[in-house]
Symmetry: C2
Subunit: 147 residues, 2 copies
DNA sequence: AAAAAATAGTTGCATAGGCAACTTTTCATT
DNA sequence: AATGAAAAGTTGCCTATGCAACTATTTTTT
């Protein structure tokens, strides 16, 4: 069977390069983009919640959010109801670049799905989702990791 | 448009975890697997060639192959016809674990495509290939990188 | 043939990201 | 209420990977 994995990792590495290039003007590093995107969709949430939603290690999240805070894109407040939690909010500065950031995401999707029919785009999305789910189930069944 | 990129990167990260787990007995790190797999298919080639085929930075290849050599899975010989080149060969030790290594790749593909029809598996492979191609074209058109 | 350009590899530096150990706080059990 | 377990964050350590600068060789130009 030919390798799905090879293409996944290739696409992932190119995405990495794309966001690294695109981030230059903003001071943000490529890896922070997805956190920003997530927060545009929903802020005022804990880091743990972000990690779970993005399926990312909480240590990685901690560092990414720290970085965004240092750059002035988010602020963190200790939750009043649970003082273990940091509640993360976007700043004005972050809202100011929302259109630009979201645009880079749509453009990347457009690049990937260039010459795809509407149907193909839907199928790929659905099958990727299914594969991610299969991968997750397999990994989490072996060891209960904190994600 | 919902994010293809998110699923790609999620699957990639899980693949990473899978190969990290599976590599434990062999002394190899997860990242070296794909180089081994490539060499089973074709050895006696230069690092540059490997990089180009795998679409991987040549620095990364240099380090991975160094590591495989240190572990006794490959040896490098200076090419007689072009003394810039290292020609990479698998050792007996590497051939001895071929079945095991190849098996881990098939199993990962099986895990990802669990409950996929034959047709779905073919479609996903074809569309991933197409997306990788689109990504590559876009990146390489901007800057001529050494891959 | 000499100079310039291209190629193959190596290495330093940077980011991304996982894992595990640790701290602080909260929750559950007794 | 006290003790133990769980949860949220932080941080150190490790690997993977890209990029750029560098060396050594080969190829191309002049």
């Amino acid at each position: 069977m030919e390798s799905i994995g090879k293409w996944i990792s290739t696409i992932h590495r190119y995405a990495h390069m794309y966001f690294a290039q695109e981030s230059e003007g903003l001071g943000i590093c490529g890896g922070q983009f997805m956190f920003l995107k997530f927060l545009y969709h929903q802020d005022g949430v804990s880091q743990e919640y972000i990690s779970k939603q993005l399926l990312i290690d909480k240590g990685t999240t901690a560092r990414a959010i720290q970085n965004l805070e240092k750059l002035g894109y988010v602020i963190r407040k200790k939750s009043q109801t649970d003082r273990r939690q940091n509640v993360v909010f976007l700043t004005e500065k972050a809202h100011g670049i929302k259109a630009e950031v979201m645009d880079k995401f749509s453009r990347w999707t457009e690049i990937l799905t260039k010459d795809f029919s509407q149907e193909e785009t839907e199928i790929i999305l659905q099958l990727l989702h299914k594969m991610a789910h299969n991968a997750m189930e397999h990994i989490q069944q072996k060891e209960n990791c904190n994600r």
